[in-house]
Structure formats: C-alpha cells, structure tokens
Symmetry: none
Subunit: 215 residues, 2 copies
C-alpha cells in the first residue's frame, strides 16, 4: 500500500533523475562552461558533476545548493524545465476579429493566434452574455495560471472557496486555474474580457471534471 512509486535506483535514460541530469548539463553548456570550470565555481568535484549530469548519482541537497549558486540560478530553477516549442524569433499579429470562436449560450470565447501552437500563453477574448443566472455552467478547473482583465462592462467572478467578487472595467484578476472558477456578466449588458492562460484549456464546457489534482 505504497502511495508514491519508489524509485530507489533508476538507471534508465528516461528516469526523472536522468532528465534532471540532462537539464544540468544543458544549463552548464548554455553558459559555455566545462565540467572543471563549473567545478571551480560550485566547489564540487569534476567526477561528481559528470556522474550527476549522466544521472548516475543522486545529488544531495547541499551539493545541489552549491551547484545552483555556482550556476547562478535559484534552487527552484533547477527543477523548472524551460522548453516551450514556440520557435525562437517568432512574431505574429492578429487583427481585431481574427479569432477562433468557441460559443455557448452564456459566452463566446475567441482564441487569439490559434495558428501558433504550443504558446507559453493562450490569450482569449471573451464575451459574457447578460443572461439569467438560472442555467449556469459548472466550475472550470485546469492546470496553470490565469490572468483576466475586464475590457467592457462588469463581471462576477465565482471562485471555489471564495465569496463572489465583482470586477468592473479595468479591474483584473490573477488566479491558479486549478481552483474551480467561473465568470459571468454582472450587469444587464454583455461584458467583454481578455483572458490569458498559461496552458490551453482543454476542458469541455459543462461536465464537472473530477480529476482532483492538488488539494
């Protein structure tokens, strides 16, 4: 009845440890440093670095701390992969209205730049229709973070475990989108909002997705 899969010693090239090692090697090579140069900067032995980068060794906290300082990054940065496949130098312009629509009776969302795949951010233009509060959609939950700003009108933000908040034109919101959330027009008129997510929202409109991640 073990909860987490115990990886005691993994030598396969796709283990987390091997990936971590490749990330270390990338960080070093990005800077044009050799093993011995990083060894000098970090105070670690060359052999240690070599084994760590190849995933043959499991660095201890102390060594990782030295390593992070030697590289010049935050400790957390060692564990946040940085690869998005947005091609280097990319550049795209969208004219007003050139959007891909997703529509329900309650709202219209138009994704900007649908032709760019794997964006680090997904900007969407939303129109929340002034509507009866009877047939509401369910909370939406998806991984990542979300930014919202009210362009026209006013909206009510329902967030799981929070009292409803009213945002007026120019107000904005930043939230962890794994917390259940739902937007609705607050006034008698339609509201226009701009939403930017860090990850594409693949959830379907209605069903309450019960894939409970992180309490």
């Amino acid at each position: 009845m073990t909860y987490a899969a115990p990886p005691p010693t993994a030598d396969d090239p796709d283990s987390e440890r091997a990936q971590f090692g490749r990330r270390l090697r990338a960080l070093r090579r990005d800077r044009g440093w050799t093993l011995s140069e990083l060894a000098e900067r970090s105070g670690l032995a060359v052999s240690t670095l070599s084994k760590a980068e190849r995933g043959l060794m499991s660095l201890t906290y102390d060594r990782m701390l030295q390593l992070a300082r030697g590289i010049g990054v935050d400790m957390a940065e060692l564990f946040t992969p940085d690869g998005t496949s947005f091609a280097p130098g990319s550049f795209a312009v969208a004219a007003k209205g050139e959007f891909k629509r997703q529509e329900t009776p309650n709202y219209v969302y138009e994704m900007l730049f649908p032709e760019i795949r794997n964006k680090a951010m997904v900007p969407m233009m939303g129109t929340l229709k002034a509507h009866d509060l009877k047939d509401f959609d369910d909370f939406v939950r998806h991984p990542g973070q979300e930014f919202l700003i009210v362009l026209e009108g006013a909206i009510t933000v329902f967030a799981e475990g929070k009292a409803p908040v009213t945002l007026r034109q120019g107000d904005s919101l930043y939230l962890d989108s794994s917390r259940g959330h739902l937007y609705a027009s607050a006034g008698a008129q339609d509201a226009r909002i701009l939403v930017v997510c860090t990850e594409p929202d693949t959830t379907e409109p209605a069903p309450a997705d019960a894939s409970g991640s992180r309490v």
Copy 2:
C-alpha cells in the same frame, strides 16, 4: 579562488539546509500528517524524515523526488519559500490603478499584481505617450514570450528584422521577446496597451545591460 561559498556540513540553525528542513516540516504539519504517515506516502524511513526536517541530513535527489510526490507538490515547490511563490489555489484581484509604476518620457508601465512573486505571467498596463520620434528608446530584448493588445489608440511595433507594423484598437501581437522589439504610439494621442510577458522584464530602460545571462 572559489566562487561559491562551500557549505560542506552546516549544523547551525540558520543554514539553508535547516530552513529547507523547517519548510518540509511545515508542509507536512499543514496537512496534519505524522512522520510515519508521510513515511508511508513517500516511501522514506521515519528516521530519514526526522533528520531531514531538522537539517541534520542532506537529502539526495531521489529521496526529495519521492518526498515531493508523497506530499503532492511539484519538486520546484519544495524550494519556493512561502511568501514568494504563486502558491497553489492562489487568487488575487487588482482594482483599476493599483499598479506599480515604471515611467520614462516615452511611456508609463504599470505592473499588475506586483505583490505576487514568481508569476508564470507578468501582466502590465502601458501608456505610450504621443511623442516625437526623435529620441527613441532602444530595442528591448528579454527571454520568454510576450502578448500585447491595444486597448486605446494605435501603436507602431518595431521588431528587429521586421518592417514596422501598425496595430489599432483591439489588434494584438504575440512574439518571442528575445527578438528586439519596441512600441510607440502611432497617432497624435496617447495609446493604452496591455502587455503580458512570460518572465519578468528586468532590463533597464536605456543602458545595454551586458550581464549576459542565457542568450
């Protein structure tokens, strides 16, 4: 000629390791778990957890990975001290105008949610002043991607290697911000834009910062 101070074995209560340990203990107690409960969830020994939480031991990568999974957090989250990261479930509202300003003769940028650190996205409100095109700023370059939408007025986008583009109200732009770029008001009046970056732009207005980190 060592660059980073080597902390081989530190037993003082204010070492990074001790702080890390206290953070681990907090994460566990927040969930109301005992050492043996976390031991079962993570697959680590009780004694190991005890020593790690007191900073008497330097956990290896493999154990930290098991631990993170047992606790149910991302590896990086173990290293992001509480106040400074966008914690899971976070939720923040900014009223119009509650921004941190950065001003030059040509523009005013106001960062939204300056109190939230380590956001995945950095939304900023910008006012581009109608100005002579004589004293222009230089291209700006920073890692990450950038989204822009014109809220009021019209702007001209200068991007390195591209012909200038004019964006009007409602138009938007998505670019790799490592490509040199520069925005200016296009008309005779000021323009208002919303910019969202994937990483904080730490570049100073004018001077060419030569502290080359990751090209």
